[in-house]
Amino acid sequence: MDKILFNGLSELGTHVDRVHVFIIAIMAFCFIACNAVLIYFMLRYRRKGPDDVTASIKGNHLLEAVWTIIPTIVVLIVFVYGVRVWGDMRKPPENAMTINVTGVQWAWRFEYPDGRIEAEDLYVPAGQPIRLNMVSNDVLHSFFIPELRVKEDVVPSQYTHLWFQADYEGVYNIFCTEYCGDNHSYMLGKVHALGPEAWDRWVRRVPDPDAVQLSPAERGAKLYSKWGCLGCHSTDGSPNIGPTFKNLMGRSESFADGSTVVVDENYIMESIKQPNAKIVAGFKPDQMPAFEGQLSQQDITDLIDYIKTLNE
């Protein structure tokens, strides 16, 4: 199991964890102190008989003052400490690289300054502050990287932001932490913090030489989950928000306007790029995001190869 606190992955995270530990110490002290006294009294003054003599104390002003003032001071210290560290969390350094994030049911999209778009996997250079500028396409989501101690809701009405810096190369989890419907628990992703060489390769789109070579259909299968198609399209024949992909290729599809078509590669490409061009009968328009400009031609071909494997 990973170290829960002080994983040493980011400087800001370490600052946050110091606040965590400071508060944990206060919690532990107060918990033990209160309950030690409570249990001591429960045992020490246990009833011995009906004639026990008990004190008639009704209160003590000095004590009341003490246990009002001391907690007040303690919580003020905690408050100030918390606000100071949090202030740093809200101020991205000037050299931060901005990446736009879009939350959709149920996937994460990342758009880089050069226009490049990724889904599910957020590639960043290690040691570089990253500012995420986030917005939602549909309902509320929340972007959470537990290992780096950052989180912020992703809202349809406004841009929200957070920043982080992964000090070392590594792969970290992304969770959606605001309930967003059926696949909320699968709205996951990964932050890949890359070293200088790997980052350079990624920027120049040079495939990683060590990576295993996948077949087009295998790549398509990955894209299917990566871009969140699985949230709306099943592969087992059951209808969902969108039609199933099972036996899609070659099927005769009828549309809301009454026309029909036999599904081929071009129809699927059109459906992916401009889903509203033809609306399948029984389904709603404007549900599926248009992937025009987001998926490369190569990606679409891979997806089609994958869809072909779903024919029986």
Partner: protein, 535 residues
């Protein structure tokens, strides 16, 4: 109505004499039966949730079923069980007796609020589990927009039901506040009032002031869904965060509607079983009022990462810490009450002491959630789930059980089996902590809440939590079974088995329909227990 002082209130038979009785004791008892029924239902949904979470991956229900299960659990627990909770049950039964009155100020209004509750509850339950043609509610009890606007489940009927329930809550609060102002027996001054009454009074004020806000919010949600007006929908110029603000403006104070009465119960039990005056009476009484007041200004702590302005984030953090202080004062005063007492650890006292123990955990784990830097990490993780279950279950439910065991002989005129009551207590104590302790660690590890499935790294702690949850569930069956057995087979109870000085124990058990033949005159406060001889 015939009112003979020698017939006690339980003697009435037949539907009419119960369901149309304006007697506060009967109404309290009917509420008790109703909320315990929903408690068991909502508890079953919780068991389903914990079953599913036994291991990663799909176990017993699919992802949608899971979302429905936690929604059912939360919505029924909050709206049908814990909000009416202690005030509607023990409050209804005890309040007039404790202040020396024959009934509440508006007995018919009291019956009306019970019926409104029944109506609202029926609508909520019927629509939660799918009105014809609509799916089971899957929005979570929080009903956040835009999901609740888009969800294809029966949001409107559930919302309507909760809206109706709100009136029941408002009317009860109003009734209690007026009762406390106007119906006190001669000599029962404000500073002689039992602390349970102070707590009910504070909770009533919140019920009156906060509930209308949620009512209006829910109406807006219904209009949004029906007509697409655009209060909360970004594409129509609305703002979903507005809903969060409205929602928590009610739902944070409501936490104190739940917990203040439980604190009041504890303050009644401690002096009786320690044979000591309550320590710091005024501090406890006024801290209830202080909590009620401050509770209206802290709702923003639910929105620390929701896209609120930075400025309001730190202001709400500061205000939230302000609630900690009156809460801490109460804990210190309760513990001090035990000093140099003569402590009898019967089941009501066990529950009361467990309340203090669990409540220190509940309160202290509020600190990292009120602190901005640490809340960012913990928000919407299992840490929050554990924290509010320590307040709601460790606090309110334990408080309700403490009160039920304490006033049981008065309510039913019978005694339960004390030995089994203690066994039940320990089962609950162990099961509860085993369920929720691991969840604090899960939270620090970053396990998000409302997840149907989870990564392997969380599996061990989830498994422990589920096992604890099953013990927790069984404990309730055992405890309720013992109480029901006591109602049927218990030995007759004395008038005042615990030796309390409060007025409700001066009348027979169970009390006569009219409570007091003559309105008593009060000469001293309720807590004159110490017997030390002053030199």
């Amino acid at each position: 109505m015939s009112t003979q002082s020698d017939t006690h209130y339980l003697e009435a038979k037949g539907f009419y004499n119960w369901f149309f009785s304006v007697d506060h004791k009967r109404i309290g008892l009917m509420y008790l039966a109703a909320i315990l029924f929903f408690f068991v239902l909502a508890g079953m949904a919780a068991m389903l949730v914990r079953l599913e979470l036994l291991a990663p991956g799909e176990q017993f229900i699919d992802r949608h079923g899971y979302n429905v299960a936690f929604t059912l659990h939360g919505a029924m627990m909050v709206f049908l069980f814990i909000v009416p909770g202690i005030p509607a049950t023990l409050g209804n039964f005890c309040l007039p007796l404790m202040i020396g009155a024959k009934d509440v100020a508006f007995p018919r209004l009291n019956l009306l609020s019970f019926w409104i509750y029944v109506l609202g509850a029926a609508i909520v339950v019927m629509s939660l589990i799918g009105p014809p043609g609509e799916a089971w509610l899957d929005t979570g009890w929080t009903l956040y927009t835009p999901y609740s606007v888009e969800s294809s489940s029966g949001v409107i009927p559930v919302t309507l039901g909760v809206f109706i329930l709100g009136f029941s809550s408002i009317l009860t609060g109003l009734n209690f506040a007026v009762t406390i102002h106007k119906m006190r027996a001669p000599g029962m001054t404000w500073h002689r009032l039992p602390l349970f009454v102070w707590a009910l009074y504070s909770a009533s004020l919140i019920q009156i002031l906060a509930t209308p806000v949620v009512g209006i919010t829910l109406l807006l949600l219904i209009m949004e869904r029906s007509f697409g007006i655009g209060f909360f929908t970004a594409s129509l110029g609305g703002d979903p965060i507005l809903f969060e603000n409205f929602f928590w403006f009610y739902s944070h104070p409501v936490v104190y509607i739940m917990i203040l009465p439980a604190m009041g119960v504890v303050a009644e039990i401690l002096p009786v079983f320690a044979k000591k005056p309550i320590f710091g009476y005024r501090a406890i009484a006024y801290s209830s009022l202080a909590i009620a007041l401050v509770s209206f200004f802290v709702w923003g702590h639910h929105l620390f990462v929701s896209g609120m302005s930075n400025w309001s984030r730190w202001v709400f953090s500061l205000l939230t810490f302000a609630v900690a202080i009156p809460t801490a004062i109460k804990v210190f005063n309760w513990i001090s009450t035990l000093y140099k007492g003569s402590i009898q650890l019967d089941s009501p006292m066990l529950y009361a002491c467990a309340f203090i123990f669990l409540f220190t955990i509940a309160g202290l784990t509020g600190l990292p959630l009120a602190t901005l830097a640490t809340d960012v990490h913990l928000h919407d993780t299992y840490f929050v789930v554990a924290h509010f279950h320590y307040t709601m279950q460790g606090g309110t439910v334990i408080g309700l059980l403490a009160g039920l065991h304490f006033w049981f002989p008065k309510i039913f005129g019978k005694m339960y089996n004390e030995k089994r009551a203690r066994v039940g207590f320990w089962m609950l104590f162990v099961g509860f902590n085993a369920t929720f302790m691991p969840q604090f660690i899960l939270g620090y590890m970053g396990m998000p809440r409302r997840y149907f499935d989870y990564l392997d790294q969380f599996a061990d702690l989830h498994f422990m939590s589920s096992i604890g949850g099953f013990v927790n569930g069984l404990a309730y069956l055992f405890i309720l079974g013992n109480l029901i057995h006591g109602i049927i087979k218990g030995t007759a109870a004395e008038k005042n088995p615990h030796g309390s000085l409060s007025l409700e124990w001066t009348v027979p058990s169970p009390p006569p329909l009219t409570n007091f033949d003559e309105i008593p005159e009060v000469h001293d406060w309720t807590y004159g227990y110490g017997n030390e001889q002053h030199a």
